[in-house]
């Protein structure tokens, strides 16, 4: 009986961690922002799938527009590692290859968080990443990221 209780307690604790969410945060130093994608929350797995060009449209039928940091951006390496499991050069080659195959539209590469926020403000269906330190500048566009 005691053992079953322990198992139940463990399951409860795990379920709490399983539904753990942070507004905008996909990694400790990265936030996800988007404009009119038909939802204010996504799982980490969904963010990665959209950022890898695996989906053409959001559930609200808006075209997915991916905004990524260019090589000179200070978050380029963090995004490349978190989403593409590579470095920023590998991330750019991933996209060059996908575009060359004709299987995806090119993403928009921007140099800093301010440009990313401005672009996402102006483009419905756009999704991108900014540094956690700039959270206050993009409060209206933060996406709640749930762990899978």
């Amino acid at each position: 009986m005691g053992f079953s209780k322990s198992i139940l307690t463990l399951c409860f604790v795990l379920s709490i961690f399983g539904s753990y969410t942070v507004q905008g945060q996909i990694a400790s130093d990265l936030l996800v922002i988007a404009n009119e994608i038909g939802s204010t929350n996504l799982t980490k797995k969904q963010v990665i799938a959209y950022a890898k060009g695996e989906k053409n449209f959001w559930p609200n039928s808006k075209k997915v527009v991916i905004v990524l940091p260019s090589a000179k951006s200070e978050i380029a390496e963090a995004v490349a590692l978190t989403v593409y499991k590579t470095n920023s050069g590998g991330m750019q080659k991933y996209w060059l290859s996908l575009i060359f195959q004709g299987r995806a539209d090119p993403p928009v590469f921007l140099g800093n968080d301010e440009e990313t926020i401005r672009f996402i403000e102006k483009n419905k269906g756009a999704i991108g990443f900014i540094s956690a330190k700039n959270k206050s500048k993009a409060n209206d566009y933060l996406i709640e990221v749930k762990t899978d």
Binding site: N56, K63, G89, Q92, K93, F100, G102, D105, P106, V108
Partner: protein, 374 residues
């Protein structure tokens, strides 16, 4: 005064005109790109090569300019996009030995979620190599394409294609296609029979893709046009005696795994080619590649490639060839890499007894290639 008038009436300098037109073009594309939120993209891909060949007839050592590829994509609206690819490549028949070639012109309409309708000239989605790399030597894991690419695989099709990708948990993808087949070119076709292609793949986990395809074409008059394997037309010229029709079927299978450490690719083709004279010819090819990253940017690799064309085949012609390759790829950065390989090319299968008796000695090659794209 007369001199001045004479000077004014001189024929215009064409070089300056061309320069002006080019400047206008690039200025226009730049403005267009800015006004349309960077919706127009121009990329350039190419390669340079050094070869040393040890042949039975003697040795050759030479440098060569490889294909130079101008690649354009543009978003016309949220659902329609354009892709164009023009390659300037070597052609021995041309006076300058280089000719421009339209490799891809396609309009894609994303009609529902991840389902699209594509119209135009495209790479036939047969096997991994032709679908993913084709001209993009920057993306090639090795220096050369598989042998099947030159003989068996109808590399292009001009027509209609229904495409779906990343569907469901297995990331299922399909390509259903009909268009101008092997005997056609980019302007017309000899007959009324279009080629048919059905290709399917799944990507059950990251970096892994497995796919198969079936291609059918009725080749009128045993003619190879613009869409056959790259070397088929050359062989065809030597086999011009048979002018009848051919039923051409190609079954293909490929499995690929490209992770940050280990790389693997296997692709196979089985071809059934039926003529009125010699009946059914069964041809096959197999290509296997292994690469292992010893450093982030250094990948030694090995591959084994063979092709066996039956002596009953009147389209490609009797052929047996195998190639064992050892090489290395050095990625200088994501826009430039350096590759080299040593290869032994045998007129027989290296590991199993072929029905062909070896008539010529093995040849060897050493190649260095610089591939770029930006």
């Amino acid at each position: 005064m007369i001199d001045k008038k004479f000077k004014l009436s001189k024929p215009p300098n064409h070089q300056i005109q061309y320069l002006f037109i080019l400047l206008c073009f690039f200025s226009f594309t730049k403005i267009f790109a800015q006004e349309n939120n960077k919706k127009l993209h121009i990329n350039f891909f190419g390669h340079l090569e050094y070869d040393f060949d040890k042949l039975s007839t003697g040795n050759n050592s030479y440098f060569s300019i490889g294909e130079q590829d101008i690649f354009i994509t543009s978003k016309i609206n949220d659902r329609i996009s354009f892709l164009g690819e023009n390659v300037i490549r070597y052609d021995s028949k041309s006076s300058s030995t280089f000719i421009p070639s339209i490799e891809r012109v396609q309009l894609k309409f994303d009609y529902y979620e991840n389902h699209s309708l594509i119209v135009g000239k495209m790479h036939s989605p047969i096997n991994y190599w032709n679908d993913v790399y084709h001209h993009g030597r920057l993306f090639f894991p090795t220096v050369d394409r598989p042998l099947a690419f030159s003989y068996l695989v109808p590399v292009h099709t001009l027509g209609l294609r229904l495409q779906g990708q990343n569907l469901g948990k297995l990331k299922f993808g399909y390509d259903l296609m009909t268009g101008n087949g092997i005997s056609s070119n980019d302007f017309t076709d000899l007959g009324v029979n279009n080629s048919l292609l059905a290709a399917f793949h799944v990507k059950p986990f990251d970096n892994f893709r497995i796919g198969l395809s079936y291609y059918y074409d009725f080749i009128k008059g045993n003619y190879s046009g613009a869409h056959s394997g790259h070397s088929t037309a050359v062989h065809q010229a030597a086999l011009a005696k048979y002018k009848g029709n051919i039923n051409f079927e190609l079954f293909s299978f490929s499995a690929s795994y490209f992770s940050d450490k280990f790389e693997f690719l296997n692709e196979s083709c089985v071809n059934k080619s039926r003529s009125d004279t010699l009946g059914m010819a069964i041809n096959m090819s197999n290509y296997t590649y292994f690469g292992y990253k010893i450093k982030e940017n250094i990948t030694p690799f090995a591959s084994y490639d063979f092709i066996d064309i039956s002596n009953k085949d009147v389209h490609i012609g009797h052929l047996s060839k195998s190639k064992i390759i050892l090489g290395c790829r050095y990625d200088i950065n994501h826009l430039l890499n350096l590759k080299f390989h040593f290869a032994r090319i045998s007129p027989n299968h290296a590991f199993i007894n072929s029905h062909i008796h070896q008539t010529e000695p093995d040849s060897y090659e050493f190649k260095i290639q610089m591939a770029y794209g930006f």
